[in-house]
């Protein structure tokens, strides 16, 4: 209980220390990548709950990030002023759900307010996660990995093939996301420090909620499913429901990150939905010690920052691929809990037996 708050306080202190350090050393431009790393970290701690505690893998989480980001991007950029006369549109405009603003060329456009778009994005994410989760979470181990990979592939192909989503170019000129008067999620350098703090505030709150969760009745139920699913059932734990809820929760984390990072960057492209992104998220959870929210958070902050600063150069994706292989090979401690590993292990053993 108290330890929980000590850790959260330490996180808050570290966040502030990093910002002060960048200010003191004149490296404030680092804050841009640190902010982005914060949003990716939000995705990754949600995935950590799913993988480390519920024992389910998802190779499609970039898909949920993209659903959040693209929903918000489309709704806040599509111009509805041509339909202004339609009663439904004018009602929405009056209620504040639609909002007028100047576009790049000085014209006046009518789009969905970012907050309304955000709520839409969450609803769509929950519905999609539910529809995907119900059939897919019946699968185990590498079957689940492949099914979620399939989901990720579908989302990627859809955004790449749809002109409404900007196809290969993605969507740009996404407006700022107003939070408070004078504070908005936007890439402008005047708001750089505030945005850094906002992103990491989300991470801190997200982290606190997850830590509370894993120390609760639900967290215990999740670990019991992970430990012995049939025995958990005998104790009254509805494993299917718990897995589904966890899947939806982690999808929501990804979507929230997707929405805000899209507004921060002023746009989103198909690479955010790519399989490599999903693999990267899984790799970071694995290297963070599978089932360790704090380990995952630290690895995520560091690796994402290095990657975004371009330290890995053209090997960027290869670095994360290698990390994944290395963890699978050399760090059974962290990875043992993962079902795929034990399945692969069993598979190898039966192969040997068959060969003998």
């Amino acid at each position: 209980m108290f330890q929980r708050f000590r850790h959260i306080t330490a996180l808050a202190a570290a966040i502030a220390a990093v910002q002060l350090l960048t200010a003191a050393t004149g490296k404030e431009f680092f804050l841009t990548q640190l902010t982005m790393a914060g949003y990716y970290t939000l995705v990754i701690i949600g995935l950590c709950l799913l993988m480390g505690y519920a024992g389910q893998i998802s190779l499609g989480h970039a898909g949920f990030f993209a659903i959040g980001g693209y929903t918000s991007a489309v709704l806040t950029t599509v111009d509805l002023s041509a339909w202004k006369a339609a009663p439904a549109i004018s009602l929405l405009a009056k209620s504040g759900i639609l909002t007028g603003r100047a576009d790049l060329y000085g014209g006046q456009i009518l789009t969905v307010h970012p907050w309304a778009a955000f709520l839409c994005a969450l609803c769509i994410t929950i519905v999609v996660a539910f529809l995907i989760g119900v059939p897919v979470l019946k699968l185990k181990g590498h079957y689940l990995a492949m099914a979620t990979l399939g989901f990720g592939t579908i989302i990627y192909s859809v955004v790449l093939a749809t002109s409404r989503f900007g196809a290969a170019d993605g969507i740009s000129s996404v407006p700022a996301f107003p939070l408070l008067p004078g504070l908005a999620v936007t890439g402008g350098s005047s708001q750089r420090v505030a945005n850094y703090y906002f992103a990491w505030l989300l991470v801190t709150v997200g982290m606190l909620l997850l830590i509370n969760l894993i120390h609760s009745r639900v967290g215990r139920a999740l670990r019991s499913i992970h430990g012995a699913e049939d025995a958990a059932g005998a104790m009254g734990v509805d494993a299917a429901r718990y897995k589904l809820n966890t899947f939806i929760l982690s999808a929501v984390y990804a979507a929230v990150a997707g929405v805000f990072l899209t507004h921060y960057n002023g746009g989103i492209g198909p690479s955010e939905a790519s399989i490599m992104k999903s693999v990267r998220y899984v790799a970071i959870v694995a290297v963070g010690g599978m089932g360790s929210l704090w380990g995952t958070l630290i690895m995520s902050a560091v690796l994402n920052f290095l990657s975004l600063r371009g330290y890995f150069g053209t090997f960027d994706d290869a670095v994360f691929g290698s990390i994944l292989i290395a963890v699978m090979l050399f760090s059974p401690e962290g990875v043992l809990k993962l079902d795929i590993r034990s399945l692969v292990g069993r598979w190898i053993r039966t192969d040997r037996k068959a060969g003998a």
Partner: protein
């Protein structure tokens, strides 16, 4: 009053009729035993009663309600708890946490309550912990609370499993060979424990090979052989039943 009832339940695995047309009932507040040679279908019967597998035909009634089509977690919620012949503890969790999971059916904090850690959630969590510790004390394993469940000895693991079930305060407790792997003294202690559990108002259905244990504590005994029920009576009557004697002493006797 009948608490649990099986009505002509059958289960076939491929060519093997593991349970065939078995009917019996368990009276509330009693201890009933299921005995039979290896492979007689005792564990399969337990799996059918607890919702782990669905019967091919027949009904299972818990307090008169048909439950044969319900999944195991739903049956657990209705007050049936079980232990396993092959111990099934949650690895990577402490003994206490294992036992706390037993309280799942009698607590309610969900995802939202858990994430927000509300005052009532914390109170509920304390209550779960206290009751789990009580169960462990009751079984004399209070000192193991913080040990890692998978590091415990066989007998200790059995006790943790039993504590886990007890913490749910079930109406009926199904024990699958609880004395397996215990020495004579531990078995005698277990007999005392089971009667104590019954005295708490929990009905007990037990599968056991240890005849002295079964005959001492049971009110009634069901005998299975090759999936079929061949006797269902008081312990003394069962011991004298010629068919039961034949099954236990071997066919070549007659």
């Amino acid at each position: 009053m009948t608490l649990l009832e099986a009505r002509s339940i059958s289960k076939r695995f491929g060519g093997l009729q593991a349970v065939k047309d078995v009917s019996f009932s368990v009276a509330q507040g009693s201890i009933k035993a299921v005995i039979g040679p290896n492979g007689a279908g005792k564990t399969t019967l337990f799996n059918l009663l607890s919702g782990f597998i669905a019967p091919d035909s027949g009904e299972v009634l818990l307090r008169g309600m048909p439950v044969q089509d319900l999944p195991s977690h739903a049956i657990a919620t209705r007050g049936l708890s079980r232990t396993f012949q092959h111990i099934r503890l949650f690895g990577g969790m402490s003994a206490l946490e294992n036992v706390m999971v037993g309280r799942h059916v009698r607590s309610r904090a969900g995802f939202m309550a858990g994430m927000l850690n509300l005052a009532w959630t914390r109170a509920e969590e304390r209550d779960i912990r206290d009751r789990a510790l009580d169960s462990m004390e009751f079984l004399g394993i209070g000192q193991l609370a913080h040990a890692n469940a998978s590091s415990l000895s066989y007998g200790q693991q059995r006790a943790v499993e039993l504590a886990r079930s007890l913490t749910s305060e079930p109406e009926i407790l199904l024990l699958d060979e609880p004395a397996a792997g215990l020495n004579m003294r531990e078995t005698a202690d277990l007999a005392v424990l089971i009667t104590k559990i019954r005295d708490r108002g929990i009905t007990v259905l037990i599968v056991e090979h240890d005849m002295s244990l079964v005959m001492n504590i049971s009110d009634e005994v069901v005998v299975l052989s090759y999936g079929e029920k061949i006797a269902d009576n008081k312990p003394l009557a069962v011991q004298k039943d010629p068919q039961v004697v034949r099954v236990y002493l071997g066919e070549d006797e007659c």
